[in-house]
Amino acid sequence: MGSILRKVAFPIFLIGVAAIIVIAWVPALLYGTVDSMRDDLGRFYKWEPRGEHATLTLDNIRQYLEGSIAGQSAPAAHIRFGRSTAAACTYVLWLLQFRITRDVLAVVGVVGFVSLFAMFAIWWERKVAARMQSRLGPMRVGGWHGWAQSLADGIKLLQKEDIFIAGADPVLFRMAAYVAFIPALGLFIALPFSAAWIARDLDVGLIFILAMYGVGVLGVLIAGWASNNKWSMFGAMREACQMISYEIPLGFALLVPIMTVGTLRLTTIGDLQSGGFQTWLAFRNPFLLAAALIFFIAALASCKRAPFDLPEAESELVAGFHTEYSGFRWALFFFAEYAEMFAAGALAAILFFGAWYSPLPAAWGESWRHGPLWQQALHGVVFSGPLWLIGKGIFFVYVQMWLRWTLPRVRLDQVMYACVQVMLPLAMLVLLANTFWEWQVRDRSVLGTVANLVCTAVGAAAVLAIIGVGLYGFINRRRLVGTQVVKHLPGA
């Protein structure tokens, strides 16, 4: 049984990865199909009633799919299905036009994505840490580089006793893990994975996400207070003062791109960066680049990641706010942490680094968007789509891990000093300077163009440097780990 499992495990893993890609891409495609069907019906077939919330009937859809609406000529790029395929697709598409269906799918998608991502990120963090420390990390579970380690850990944590300590507050102690976890899920509601693939395209999406971050702190605070443990208490207090302080420079850094684009709607902010690498907001002028850096550092502090991981500082506070937690309740805190890490990375990507667009100008692929299915798929991979956003988010998560395993931890007074004395004035200055810049410097002027080019060059150099170092590390991966480890590498 074990050997069979070992043989099929890796293919299952690959299928899972493929499934994630499909899950990320297909709904957007289907929603697009439904919406374009509604448009087409309205435009070509004099379909009544029109309007955004009009309900398509099953007959409408089937006839549309078969391309057989009597007396009407179908549009040129119309997809035509056979009778039986059309009948099968009809019910799916009919369901998809309803808001409630899309919401259910969105909830399933968000929960699924966050869980899968957290499991992937925990495994990956261990591998990244191991590589940096000339170790191998998990190598056993699942066969290939221990890919199923998180799965095994999750199953283990599920089986563990949910210890409830005698002096703890019975309600708050149990509640805290959910209060920490649910906002971390909730912020994905307003987080666009692409222009179409978003659960609720709020016009105050950014504020909603920040609010969810803020509520997440409450979970940590409650956990620290309810645990009836002095170390937990210390951790909770640290988290509170750190989070509240860093939200201010975070907010100021976010105001910079918001003032530039003039909207809080994340899909609009994303769409403004569709013109290729040099139109990404971070490379627009030096102040936006600075704002991107400030945002990332402040987000690091808000996500309580190293070097700002004071609330769970192991060498000082044992485990900080989650000292008394065990089993799956404990795991929920970690799920929340990794979800917030990804959200911070994705937010950085959306606001500053081209959102879900590739470095190539999206206009180049415009014709593919309305072509046959394979062209649409290729467009999603090459030019824009959820995969690009997920990729960028994962990159920023990687940067957070990289920092965590490189830097020592700062002290509380230094965290506060860095926030109030350095980050806050800097963020204010950047906001002021950017305001002035946007007011005075025209888009196509010489100064604007030069600044854009210089910032783009800096960004491109950084990207190339990271790719270069990564390649060097990958090519020499057997040498760099050190002679002790080489002896134990698989195949040695």
């Binding site: 000339s134 192991e314 060498s315 000082e316 830097l407 020592p408 700062v410 002790q484």
Partner: protein, 391 residues
């Protein structure tokens, strides 16, 4: 949790009532390096007072010493400062040899110095790695353990053990060096010496690390001497005192090496924030000492003669009446052994001066009015091993 017996300041009428909190740091705590228990009187993040409680690892080492022969006691010595077993064995053997008037053969001396200095490097590596962990940098810890592994491999090849060696014994060493040891050691020294600079760049000069440790837990020269600090803690305060140089024992007078001491910041590549006697200085003295140990080891390899490695020690060694007190420069400071004989194979009294015990005594003095995060930074820089404190 303890009752708050120490009364706090009466609050002014109308003010928010605050209370001091007593917190137990240890005996089970990630950064107390074993079973040290620190009681902190805290006011928020501020630590007003630190009271160390010891005795959680008491194993009656001295009492055992009064019941077994010196050769039997050597394995117990390994377990005093379990990170530097060789140095403990060495100190005890020297004391017994002085009492009995035994002469160690030439090669035996060199083997002893090689083992002691290797173990000093291994122990300082642990100290360096754990100190990084105390400050929150996890990665240097594993690098330190990677290098330590080479040394432990050498020890394993020599005596079969990796932690409690029972190798240096009365009259010399219990075995000769294994075949190929000299080559392996020479390779290791060439490999290891540049790594020290690498780790200095990785951790010692790291901005955050310096900010966390420089000017934290400053111990003045007067305090250091008054509290009986020895080893890197004393030298970190700028006192050039090393028994290997100041009161040479064994054959340390034959080697050239420097005594690193804490230096003020701003010169010699030392960060400007550093003050003599702070945590960073104590930590950095260890880094420099590793280099000096490498120097000593190189000279050892050049000078080491062939021949006998152990003196002819009678099967039942009778300890003559009289007492001997001898101190050696252990890894953490001056390690002293008092052996009292009474014409029997078993000593009448064995007393051990553990440097960690004396070094730990300064913790209440230094850990006052510091932040909570400074407590691991200070205790880590003093680098105590509880096996030696409680004995």
């Amino acid at each position: 949790m303890e009752e708050n017996t120490l009364s706090s300041q009466p609050a002014a009428p109308g003010a928010i009532r605050t209370e001091e909190m007593l917190v137990n740091m240890g005996p089970q705590h990630p950064s107390t390096h074993g079973v040290l228990r620190l009681m902190l009187r805290t006011d928020g993040e501020l630590v007003l007072e630190t009271i160390p409680h010891i005795g959680y690892l008491h194993r009656c080492a001295e009492k055992i010493g009064e019941n077994v022969t010196p050769v039997q006691f050597v394995p117990i010595c390994d377990r005093l400062d379990y990170l530097a077993g060789m140095n403990n064995d060495h100190g005890y053997s020297l004391a017994v040899e002085k009492l009995c008037g035994l002469e160690v053969p030439e090669r035996g001396h060199y083997i002893r110095v090689i083992m002691c200095e290797l173990n000093r490097i291994a122990s300082h590596l642990v100290s360096f790695g754990c100190y990084g962990m105390d400050i929150g940098a996890f990665t240097p810890f594993l690098y330190a353990f990677r290098e330590r592994e080479y040394i432990l491999d050498l020890f394993e090849a020599t005596c079969g053990a990796r932690l409690t060696y029972n190798y240096l014994t009365i009259g010399g060493a219990s075995l000769d060096l294994p075949e190929g040891f000299v080559d392996r050691l020479a390779w290791f020294l060439d490999y290891f010496e540049p790594k020290i600079d690498e780790y200095n760049n990785l951790l010692s000069y790291n901005y955050i690390f310096v900010k966390r440790t420089a000017n934290v837990g400053v111990i003045s020269v007067a305090d250091a001497i008054a509290y009986g600090l020895t080893g890197p803690c004393l030298r970190g305060s700028g006192v050039k005192w090393d028994l290997r140089r100041c009161a040479p024992y064994e054959i340390y007078d034959r080697f050239e090496f420097d005594i690193p001491v804490g230096m003020p910041g701003g010169s010699n590549g030392i960060p400007p924030e550093v003050v003599v006697g702070d945590s960073w200085s104590r930590y950095y003295v260890r880094m420099l000492e590793m280099k000096q140990s490498v120097r000593i080891l190189r000279q050892c390899l050049q000078q080491m003669p062939a021949g006998e490695f152990r003196a002819k020690v009678p099967r039942t060694l009778k300890l003559p009446a009289g007492e001997v007190y001898l101190e050696v420069e252990g890894v953490r400071g001056q390690l002293g052994f008092l052996v009292v004989g009474e014409n029997k194979p078993i000593p009448r009294r064995v007393k051990i001066r553990g440097p960690s015990f004396c070094n730990l005594s300064i913790v209440p003095h230094v850990c006052r009015q510091v932040l909570l995060a400074d407590v691991p930074a200070i205790v880590g820089s003093i680098d105590v091993v509880m096996g030696e404190v409680d004995r």
